[in-house]
Symmetry: C2
Subunit: 336 residues, 2 copies
DNA sequence: CAAAATTATTAAAACGTTTTAATAAAATAA
DNA sequence: TTATTTTATTAAAACGTTTTAATAATTTTG
């Protein structure tokens, strides 16, 4: 249970250098000795110590995964799923992920991730909206870095993103195709880049079908984008007294909030008003009626990010640029 | 950006040994030199390399977290939350978690976690039901180990568990107190240790209130414990034609499945039948009507497990035994 | 056949810490 | 005062790999 490279070298009658070269399958090793060494490794049950390898090679085999505390602790496991996607992919590639969170008001003197200081990662994934102070800081470590579900101009970083515009476009096109002409948009807070893009998609789809956007059907001045904001937004919309037959919400949480208010006011879903969300969270399938929504493959987002960052770390590629992950409309009962 | 212990030693005019002792705050260092060294460390922005420390000290500062693939990929993020609890606690203690999954039919020759072979963890958390073949295997590494939400006799392991019996007992007592006498139990698959305990709590509560258990109100012969099983179980129960005014389900997924069938058959909730679940998943608050359920603090489960296992690793304690995490009844509308 | 080129192997240094046993200096006891 | 104990510091070995430059052996070329 404590066999080292020396034991293997001795038993196989080669130098430790040779064993090392075999392990790292270096080409300059004859087939004969390679086989002999591999056999001894097998017999002895040898496995190189991670710490020794890292110390000598300066490669850790770890990827750092950073998200902000508020993303980490939100009840809907959106970023958790992204993390799991990365984790899953990491296993296939023999990498481990070190996860850490930072506060929204990141200060490098207080919150610097230990794995950066201790040189314990080869690459970095930053998930969700992160402060630029963090970006400035991590840049200094010159590690391959990929953003997930976030992008900022001015930092030449690769990013893996949801194709929000197209997702929204398809969802709205679907409503139009079902005969709806007066479709409301429930956006909550437009500061969120995703929500902004979804609004773009909404406008785009309407334009494509020759429908003018009625701005009184767009609600986008709420503090956030949660369940409560969906409720508030729908109240506001109903109070405006403008007719509409469908609502496209910026995400599922708001859609579900909106549905609750509609039910409270005795509006039948989908008969009187059709509702469509975005994200396809756990809850979407379970509410009554089940919510039609735009499916976002969170696991895939994380997986692609990991793949990208590992390829950068192994110098297999120089850049990943922006990668858009496609969405898929999931039709359930809330849209009729 | 590449300052080592030698640089600190040179600048502070001490040996590297002294610097090391200061870092690890060894008592045999005078206050004067300690301060001087700390000052130079600060000035130089020195941080010890994790790999070098690990190689020399044989302490990694990592905890391995193992769960089975099916637990990992279930849609309800139960074990994910436990993991996040551990992760959160780990950060406070300057530990990192290495997560990995193993298949249900674990075979050490194929699926041995790399972090074990490469000696990359100081301790182990095993979450959920894991095969005994895994337990047999991990035992050989002689690492401090804690089980979460699972326990097996015969392995002298510490465990952090949900207080299922009491949680179920309180839930059923609450229904009795609301006047219900004919309360069904929807158990799904009794193989699950948690479900078995919840059934025990159900029986206990009824006994405590002098109500005989009508076995025709207990459904426990379904393949699993998911949404589908809740549907199937409720159909079965209704087909039995025995009257009941309340259902206590073994978990939220089954409770929600049962609610759907009740609605389908035109049974009003909670007026005709009250429904109570267990776990307090994300969905519970979002379904219609919102589900009364027994809240399980998954994050706390993970946090306690980490605390326990770290204390074992740091030899601050020898055993943790079984730790029961209390539950809390969350009353919503599904129970009237 | 000798010279040159190629292939396979290894010695030894390096990676950056911790830790042990030894030592020097200071404090205390006799 | 000297002997003893205590306190603070350090030299040097150890941890287990990778990697570079050198060397030896083999093959190819002229």
């Amino acid at each position: 249970m404590a066999v080292t490279i020396k034991d293997v070298a001795k038993k196989a009658e080669v130098s430790t250098a040779t064993v090392s070269l075999v392990i790292n399958n270096h080409p300059a090793i004859s087939e004969a000795t390679r086989r002999r060494v591999l056999k001894t490794i097998e017999e002895l049950g040898y496995h190189p110590r991670a710490s020794a390898r890292t110390l000598a090679s300066r490669k850790t085999g770890n990827v750092g995964f950073i998200l902000t505390e508020d993303h980490f602790s939100r009840s809907e496991p959106f970023y958790t799923k992204i993390f799991l996607g990365s984790e899953f992919e990491a296993r296939d590639r023999n990498f481990y992920i070190l996860l850490t969170t930072i506060p929204r008001d990141f200060d490098e003197r207080q919150h610097a991730p230990r794995f950066l200081l201790e040189r314990n990662v080869d690459a970095l994934i930053l998930a969700g909206k992160v402060p630029t102070s963090l970006l400035d800081y991590t840049q200094r470590f010159r590690l391959p870095t990929v953003l997930v579900d976030y992008w900022v101009p001015g930092y030449d970083l690769s990013a893996v993103l949801i194709d929000n515009i197209n997702g929204a476009r398809e969802a709205v096109a679907y409503l139009v195709q079902k005969g709806h002409r007066r479709i409301a948009f429930l956006g909550g807070d437009l500061q969120h880049p995703s929500i902004k893009e979804r609004l773009q998609g909404y406008r785009l789809a309407l334009a494509e079908h020759g429908i003018d956007v009625d701005e009184s059907l767009v609600v986008a001045d709420l503090p956030d984008t949660g369940f409560d904001d969906g409720e508030a937004g729908m109240r506001q919309l109903l109070d405006r007294q403008v007719p509409f037959t469908a609502v496209f919400a910026g995400n599922d949480a708001m859609a579900i909030g909106a549905m609750r208010i509609l039910r409270e006011r005795g509006v039948r879903i989908p008969d009187e008003v059709a509702v469509v969300g975005f994200d396809d969270t756990e809850a979407a399938a379970l509410v009554t009626p089940p919510l039609t929504t735009v499916h976002v493959d969170k696991v895939e987002l994380g997986a692609v990010a990991l793949r990208c960052v590992v390829e950068l770390a192994e110098a297999k590629r120089k850049r990943c640029h922006k990668i858009l992950i496609p969405t898929r409309l999931v039709i359930r009962e809330s849209s009729g």
